[in-house]
């Protein structure tokens, strides 16, 4: 019973850290409230594991510690769970997330549980150091947990497209049946009234990478699909089920490595469109750094 206070404090810190890391934004993922219930509970388990390491070590019960580490590997299942859910939902999306984006999301959810374990462990260690001074245990534990959760959360935040590329409006036009953005062949639109809709309501943008690293990152197909998916989830789409001619497209300009995007949004607001592209997260799995290699620097 002498470790009960530390245990509860640590588990609570881990749980609160997981809660702090759950964010609700335009993506509405994890969904509320069921998705939240799942992740908060997993965060609580993670917190408990992190907190229980301290008493186990102090009692020199090393077999307990190895069992706890074994339990921690169960969080790998979180990634599978997220991947399966999102892949199953892919068919219900007008524009799919793409496997690159799904993997990114699944990885984030797995990682956040490990962060909750770290926070719980830190809070438990501090609490045990100040034992049996209860007020100091609570205050110290929570200050450390708060700082660690904030720092870890900051470190885990990736960049957005607006940080690695310049996004500008671009001209939409047709060369015969071929839709073009900035002269780049984007899509073949066969019906004349669909072509008229593109000209009247469509918007085009060009995403110019700020360097060779950004250029390589933007060239990832998963990243291109993520841009299409995220932009329409922010500004909406002028399209019905089965209307393939209004599917938003992202293509790559061979010469410069820039991306071009064409979309018929539900509201033709150019500023909102450009802002939406800038806000799209850069996928962790898409990031390439050719400049870190000798061959890559020779090309630059």
């Amino acid at each position: 019973m002498e470790y009960l206070f530390t245990l509860v404090l640590g588990a609570l810190a881990g749980f609160l850290a997981r809660w702090y890391m759950l964010r609700r934004d335009y993506r509405q993922y994890p969904s509320y409230p069921q998705g939240w219930a799942i992740h908060l509970f997993l965060g609580f388990i993670g917190g408990l594991i992190g907190a229980v390491i301290v008493p186990a070590l102090m009692e020199r019960d090393f077999s307990a510690v190895s069992f706890l580490l074994l339990a921690a590997t169960q969080f790998r299942e979180v990634r599978n769970m997220e991947r399966n859910t999102l892949t199953a939902m892919e068919a219900t999306e007008m524009v799919g997330r793409g496997s690159g984006y799904i993997e990114g999301i699944a990885r984030v959810f797995e990682a956040r549980n490990y962060l909750a374990i770290w926070v719980a462990l830190a809070a438990a260690v501090v609490s045990q150091l100040f034992d049996p001074n209860r007020p100091l245990q609570i205050v110290g534990g929570f200050i450390v947990a708060l700082c660690l959760a904030w720092v870890l959360n900051r470190l885990m935040q990736g960049s957005v497209i607006g940080e690695i590329a310049d996004v500008e409006l671009a001209e939409l036009g047709f060369d015969g049946p071929v839709l073009q953005v900035n002269g780049v062949h984007v899509m073949n639109v066969g019906l004349s009234d669909a072509r008229r809709t593109w000209i009247e309501k469509g918007l085009g943008a060009v995403v110019r990478p700020k360097g060779p690293d950004a250029k390589a990152t933007l060239g990832n197909i998963g990243q291109m699909q993520a841009i299409a998916h995220d932009v329409i989830s922010m500004i909406g789409l002028y399209m019905d089920v089965g209307e393939q001619e209004f599917v938003p497209v992202v293509r790559r300009e061979r010469e410069s490595g820039s991306l071009v995007m064409a979309i018929v949004p539900s509201e033709p607001d150019a500023d909102a469109f450009l802002e939406a592209i800038r806000r799209v997260p850069v996928l962790e799995g898409a990031i390439r750094k050719p400049l870190s290699s000798r061959a890559g620097r020779m090309l630059d």
Binding site: S99, N188, V189, L191, Q225, V241
Partner: protein
């Protein structure tokens, strides 16, 4: 994008000499009928209409 499986579902044309047997072909009398048939088929098949610029419209599932 990427892992799509594309499939030609039908071809609508005003020029009988442009298409061979073995494909589902719909003939149209004139350009207006060509567009109309292609549009109706596209809705039924949930397909995209692409213009080959040789009097043929091809319906493709993406």
């Amino acid at each position: 994008m990427g892992q799509s499986t594309k499939e030609v579902l039908a071809i609508v044309t005003t020029n009988r000499n442009k298409v061979a047997e073995g494909t589902t072909v719909f003939y149209a009398e004139n350009a207006a009928e060509l567009e109309r048939t292609a549009r109706l088929l596209a809705r039924v098949l949930a397909a995209a209409v692409h213009d080959l610029d040789n009097e043929c419209l091809v319906l493709v599932r993406h």
